[in-house]
Amino acid sequence: MLSKILDRFGLGIALALEAIIFAVLSPYFFTTDNLLNVSLQISITAIIAVGMTFVILTAGIDLSVGSLVAVVGVVSTILLKADFPFVLSLLLSLVAGIALGTFSGSVAGAFITRFNISPFIVTLALMTIWRGAAFVVTEGRPVWDLPEAFSLLGGGRTLGVPNPTIIMAVVFVLAHVVLNRTRFGRYVYAIGGNAEAARLAGINTRRVVTQVYMISGSLSALSGILLASRMNSGQPNSGLMYELDVIAAVVVGGTSLFGGRGSVAGTFLGSMLIGVLRNGLNLLNVGSYVQQVVVGVVILLAVLLDQWRKK
């Protein structure tokens, strides 16, 4: 009975415990302001983590996400400064940014499925390429002097809720529905569980895998635009090490790196667990160096718990 409860709600219970501890230690923790703040802080990486969940469910990995955030950030902001009416240039920058991310994913998918190169290597190469490209197009300098209105996208609020939080919520709900209710979602799980068996059951595994990397690329691009908007600039060094934060959130959320097992609901809890931890440690004035250590330890504990409940 106990193991069944742990199995189903283990991560939620861990998150609740964490929240209770911080609420006791800091009176500010359980305020609406602070909780919205946490959601805003996790939103950028959590949106990427949704795409990463799809990828990891197929037993793949996408290391290019952090560099994509940077290159899409600078490309979109450069386009934003084009000499068009604002609405047109905003539209252009959004479309081009998302298209760039999707294109990157389709390249990754093509190399992985057509030439049988491991996702790790392919996306490692793309990670280097996009980081380099971000510096090349900006000559290493940030893109400044953006139209004022652009910062509303990532910095504004709607009905008091930060816009990135709303976008994150929409992305999670859509992803949950896609994974659980559509054929595509079922195929993602099937391929991660056993790619050859999936192919022999008539699934076009190449197409599904490629689409999964396109989802990851486009969500990274979305995050890249939101981040650029929040910083009101295109920074070629933004998104550094995001890939690791994102993978950590997915794995803490219980998705197996071997594929076929996991959920976006888990990824949300994983993102929250790490986000609340960082926020709480900040409120308690714990230094950023110590925070790194604590976050690392919590990741190990969370994965250990996951191993343990599987037995």
Binding site: T182, R183, A190, N194, L200
Partner: protein, 500 residues
């Protein structure tokens, strides 16, 4: 069955072995003994307790009760290490060899001859060579294991065990993927070991071969010993009855089938493995595909299923040209393939029974954007009942099912796609006698309903027992087709070895 008197000395006595798992008594006071130079077979359905008994002997799990005596001495076996130290060797179905290492390195793995901390490679080679020669085998100790055939790997496993001075050797389903010739070769090695005084425990589902190689047989059922008997004093029917606890009228149920119109025809098919293969399959018949391992039987199945590239040749399905470029095409045209390796190529083990059954039919079960899960569960449940899949519910994860039930799940998948042609690759490997019978009946029923059935099997009695016609492949070429009346083991073997 009675315990025959044995004159040879007992080297192993397992007395009153008991092992409990949560909810089941896996072994209930089981007695088993072995003499030097004796082949003692262990038979029983999956779950009867054979592997549990062997795992205790190998030190992989701990017994809950009973005694183990070696040469009459009470001995504690509490780890794989102590089992090995006491001269007990195990050869499992999935070998424990390292494919990237050489034969010699594998044989001495964990036991390398060394001088001052450095491995003595010449000595290692010599040891390996002398053991292989002693077994009468001509395997080069310096080649990597991954280049060897399954049969050769098995010999290397045996050599590895012998290098540790093993006196008791347990073989688990050693012939599961061997050809007739390789089986005879293995039996030669076993007879040699016998004459050297090694005691051999032999586990196999293939009853015929037990009569050939074993001296004694102990049958287990539900964790208890049904009986022990000399193989001279029993017969197949008695053994099956002992294993399943009821009598089966015959091993292979065969019904009279009315062959109908032409369903699938293949003309001059060429692939990297097949040369000019032609064949025809009719509705309502069971066509066997015989041949040695590597003759191209699986390749033919995969070519028809669109899983492998085809160089040239034409295929016709119901008089219409049929060129599947992927399994997806083949499935859409009405072909279903039950692969030999159900776990690696058939099932998604962490998915539920219902999800596995519906996997190839989701298109039909999708309403707008979404899978209609109510309809899906209902359809899966229907096949679960029809095929008598034993599982708590359609939501059970297939990982927990037995081999026979897993096979039925895949069959359910292809019934749901309404397959016109069903290809069974080794349909009963690793499946209990009782469930085998059910599978044969299902195959019969499908053929009667007008499905064209192809059965690939290395088990010749099985092919002879259930097929209407048997086509024989040798070295990628079709060497002949025999009707049920004319087919015999000898004729099939002659056709299967025409070019070798």
């Amino acid at each position: 069955m009675l315990d025959p008197p044995r004159t040879m000395s007992l080297i192993l006595e397992m007395q009153q072995m008991t092992k409990r798992y949560p909810g089941v008594l896996a072994l209930d006071r089981v007695d088993f003994s072995l003499s030097a130079g004796e082949v003692h077979a262990l038979a029983g359905e999956n779950g009867a307790g054979k592997s549990t008994l062997m795992k205790i002997l190998a030190g992989a799990i701990q017994k809950d009760g009973g005694e183990i005596l070696l040469d009459g001495q009470r001995t504690k076996i509490d780890s794989p290490h102590s089992s090995l130290k006491n001269g007990i060797g195990m050869i499992y179905q999935d070998f424990k060899l390292v494919p990237e290492l050489t034969v010699a390195e594998n044989i001495s793995l964990g036991n390398e001859p060394a001088h001052r901390g450095f491995i003595d490679f010449p000595q290692m080679q010599n040891t390996a060579r002398s053991i292989l020669e002693q077994l009468g085998e001509n395997i080069d100790p310096s080649v990597t294991v991954k280049t060897l055939s399954v049969a050769q790997r098995q010999i290397v496993e045996i050599a590895k065990a012998l290098s540790r001075k093993v006196r008791i050797l347990a073989l688990d389903e050693p012939t599961a993927s061997l050809t007739e010739q390789e089986i005879q070769n293995l039996f030669g090695v076993i007879r040699k070991l016998k004459s050297d005084g090694v005691g051999i425990i032999y586990i196999s589902h293939r009853l015929d071969e037990l009569f050939e190689i074993a001296d004694l047989i102990t049958v287990l059922r539900d964790g208890t010993v049904v009986g022990t008997s000399s193989l001279h004093e029993t017969n197949k029917a008695k053994l099956i009855q002992a294993m399943v606890g009821r009598s089966l009228e015959e091993e292979y149920p065969k019904i009279q089938l009315q062959r109908q119109n032409e369903l699938l025809s293949v003309e001059d098919l060429n692939t990297p493995k097949l040369k000019d293969v032609s064949m025809t399959l009719y509705r309502g018949e069971i066509l066997g595909l015989a041949g040695l391992v590597g003759a191209g039987r699986t390749e033919l199945a995969r070519a028809i299923f669109g899983a492998d590239r085809v160089h040239s040749g034409t295929m016709w399905l119901l008089q219409k040209a049929f060129t599947p470029r992927s399994p997806k095409d083949a499935i859409a045209a009405g072909i279903g393939l039950l692969t030999e390796d159900r776990n690696l190529q058939g099932l998604i083990l962490q998915m539920t029974l219902s999800e596995n059954i519906s996997l190839a039919s989701l298109q039909r079960l999708t309403q707008g954007l979404f899978i209609d899960r109510t309809k899906e569960k209902a359809a899966a449940g229907e096949f679960m009942r029809k095929l008598q899949i034993k599982a708590p519910s359609a939501e059970t994860v297939v990982d927990t099912l037995s081999g026979g039930n897993r096979q039925k799940v895949i069959l359910g998948r292809w019934l749901m796609t309404k397959s016109k042609v069903l290809i069974f690759d080794e349909p009963t490997v690793g499946i209990d006698v009782g469930v085998k019978y059910e599978i044969y009946n299902l195959i019969n029923q499908l053929a009667k309903d007008g499905v064209g059935i192809m059965v690939i099997s290395s088990d010749l009695p099985e092919l002879l027992g259930i097929c209407d016609r048997i086509a024989v492949l040798c070295d990628g070429r079709m060497t002949g087709t025999l009707s049920r009346k004319e087919a015999t083991q000898e004729k099939i073997l002659r056709l299967a070895t025409e070019f070798s």
